[in-house]
Symmetry: C2
Subunit: 592 residues, 2 copies
Amino acid sequence: GRLIVSIRRSSLHSTRATTPTMPNQCIQTGDNPDLTKERKTCSFDTDELTAHLYGSRKAMEIRRDISKKVATDPDFANPVRHEFLSREKRIEATAKKTKSLVQRGSEFCNVTNPAEMYHLVNEAIGIEGYPLALHFVMFLPALTAQADDELAAEILPRAMSLEIIGTYAQTEMGHGTNLRELETTATYDKQKQEFIINTPTRSATKWWPGNLGKMSNYAVVCCQLYIDGKKIGPHNFLVQLRCEKTHQPLPGITIGDIGPKMAYNTTDNGFLAFDNVRIPRGKMLMKHSKVAPDGTYTAPIHAKLNYGTMVHVRSHMIYSHGHLLATAATVATRYSAVRRQGRIEQGGPEVQILDYQTQQHRIFPQIARAYATMFTGLEIKDLYARTLAGIAKGETDLLPDLHAITSGLKSVVTYMAGLGIEQCRMSCGGHGYSDASGLPKLYGVQTGGCTYEGENMVMLQQTARYLMKAVKLASQGKTLSHSVAYMTKKTNAKSLIGMEGGDIGREHEVILDTLEHTARRLAHEAADQWAKRIQGGGEQGKSMEWSHCRDEQGLSSAYSSLHGSCIPSSCSLCSFFRSTHSHRPSLPLSPL
Amino acid sequence: GRLIVSIRRSSLHSTRATTPTMPNQCIQTGDNPDLTKERKTCSFDTDELTAHLYGSRKAMEIRRDISKKVATDPDFANPVRHEFLSREKRIEATAKKTKSLVQRGSEFCNVTNPAEMYHLVNEAIGIEGYPLALHFVMFLPALTAQADDELAAEILPRAMSLEIIGTYAQTEMGHGTNLRELETTATYDKQKQEFIINTPTRSATKWWPGNLGKMSNYAVVCCQLYIDGKKIGPHNFLVQLRCEKTHQPLPGITIGDIGPKMAYNTTDNGFLAFDNVRIPRGKMLMKHSKVAPDGTYTAPIHAKLNYGTMVHVRSHMIYSHGHLLATAATVATRYSAVRRQGRIEQGGPEVQILDYQTQQHRIFPQIARAYATMFTGLEIKDLYARTLAGIAKGETDLLPDLHAITSGLKSVVTYMAGLGIEQCRMSCGGHGYSDASGLPKLYGVQTGGCTYEGENMVMLQQTARYLMKAVKLASQGKTLSHSVAYMTKKTNAKSLIGMEGGDIGREHEVILDTLEHTARRLAHEAADQWAKRIQGGGEQGKSMEWSHCRDEQGLSSAYSSLHGSCIPSSCSLCSFFRSTHSHRPSLPLSPL
């Protein structure tokens, strides 16, 4: 927190600090002298901060070791940079690297450690996906979590040894957000004890699943289950798509690549349609829901447990999108230190563009946001781990909190990171527009996060809904869960700003109190407006919709900021302050 | 104005008008029924609006005719869509179309009419540039405006008949904004009466000029003129780069393509370095500045006249970026009409996503902005024409106004259009992320405008500087030019909002008064702050910098909105209101 505040304050001055107080571990001989000059003014130990973000000094060293090994390994070199290759060649190059990674991964890191593997994949392959991404991130977890013992025993060893490659096919051309309306059907045939998979309409075509277009020969496919003419709802089925020997589509399967996209162009997002494809009853993923041979359907005990994967990915996105923003901010800051243009004083040398206030106002807030988001991400990962541990003991009380926080934060963080990356890119002038800067790709990849894993508008509405429920519970005097406990606190009559009296610990408390006050007031006002609309009847009361127009360059009305962005923004800030609070004691940062 | 207000009002309701009042000329049999349903509710004559935007019914019909002819012409068909081609193949395809356009242009339109040609190029080739773009937009105009009679007689006929192809090489790797510091040198050799062109440093390499990488064999090159060891400043020289027969680089010329970019990937932006390349004295563009055989230098009479081209392009950008935003808004609106997902009422059919308030809040403001920007663009084109006419009569009084308005508007409009296009793209969910939607390319092309023709931050500062001068003049009781005349008006003590009393004409006046009041107050407050900083001395007073952080999702401080965005935004709104006012009488829109 102090770091961030310090950066923001310095951004209000047109000159920057010049007195070094701590060693900067990034300084290397042979660097551009302007970069070294800047690094010498660093006011904290850079390794201390890095280790804090990665969890420990050991983790930091492992990451650096991975990066070093990858940089000098011929299997991961780019004889021609991806930007100059056609899409086919990019995919080929990526597939080749993936093969090396599978065969030689353990030379680089502990392949059972997800954080190390994530870093290795980013370093060795890149951020635009790779042929086995969906296999590892969705196919295996879905089978592990939802297949019954028999199917798991049959398929998991083959999937884990990469004898087969799979993906997860859920989204259709006509339905992404509203999963309950997916159109692909799995009709149970009692006589033959088989499911018949069909794509009844054009819009029922599976559309977007990653690694479906070319790479996968199997998929977990989400279909509407029909038994005896009755629609039961969406369920998952394991379907073979291509011949294991020839890789040709099996009869009844229409499959291919959906074409180029804004980014992720090394990923073969695909389409898939079924014409009376029959699979044995045992290929349904039946750990939770079951269809007996005679067609008797058994529903799962806990309906919400299946949401786990989505929440997991969203939790991870908070940190990773902060990291994407940090990457852009690093490029822009270094560029601004090295680039000299214009003179502030007549007759003086051209100045580093980092010395312009306008440049500082563009970039420094992005640095602050990147840290705020990554610290928040650590807090959320911790909350996710605690929630999982609770569920293992049968305690599900943290789940609604986790769902509401990750939904809102996912939306706010991905949107904010996108705006920030674009500011970083534009602050590099023309060079930021060139693919050589890495920034156009970074934006293309990052902005996908505003849409995937829950469209941002829809996510904000889910958080808003949760907050409205909390307001209602608070008004009934009920106990609220941790993340919305502030709803029942009494508001101080006076502003707390400037009341900390120089006490750093108290300063955090005051800021947190103030944010809680704001979040509480906005939530109550929104609830009042909603109640009025419902009383008013008519169109407005029918659905609970939250307006959200954060992009309006300061012109967005009080209405929209009330109903949309402010609420999760406040959530986000609270998480951030809690996170810097809770993480600090374990690995104290030196005072600035 | 009324149209816009009407759209914004309707966006506050979750259902849309269903009573048709006017014929919608877009309706065609065979269209998606949801689209036709929406079009039937149109409350104005669509052709009337289109004709208004294009200037006349005749102009509208010519455009439609061009589009129709291009759509069915085999020379302009895409056997494979560009998105699926490698960069080389895209450039090849574009070059081929360009050739057809040059040979057969007059079959499609009056090739001497710039508006018709602009439309033809967009329809036949696309929006990412083409091999002759810089030849027509920069090379020919630079020669026409700056070459002396002798050089013009020698080169213009060859350039106009496309015997040679040229570009304009100004930006260098190290300098784009600060042109006075360009490093490429042209040293006059009195003995041989030649200029020696050199690239003394890596950063002096010409970098970015369009069509330089592969297409051009000539260029107008901006170099620092040196005579007798004295630096005179940047001047333009005609240099042959490649052999007219073999297209190989001439001795001393290093030249190539700078690689892939965020967009404009059918344009061969290039690099260029010189090693003692000698050109005859007569190749300097000497209409305004002159170097006599003995090395005597004559400065131009009007130093600012050379800025004409930049101002012209910026004037054009206001309208064209409004049009790019309009394109995105059209895609998003049509998609939202056709896409059905989710249910507002239990048991009802899935609804058109256009019925969601959140969707309306994303898209409708972009429609309003697109119209506002295009109307403003018409006003600016008119101002540009009047300024040119004035200059022809020796009157330059409109030039400072035009420069200030186009600088500020260029920045505000390009930034706003980018945010708007991205909102449109995201409102199409995953389909907006696919290149099939056309939206990723649209954003890539459009956002380039935030950087080229004057980086946005720098442009805002130029407008701010003009406004601060105006405040000073106003305080001295001097007469101000048209665009800042409001600075001297007396402010009404009371708010004018709600005072119009139902009179539509008066409503506009009140809005304009209110905007002027806001702009005036902000300018005066900014001037006060600036004066205080200068009095305070120190770093702050040394340079006049205007902070500008419009992207901060409503969190931008009062400081930055004061110093940056509000001022040109107000300019923009004033222009918009003036434009709807001034254009209406000539082609009245039916009341809504």
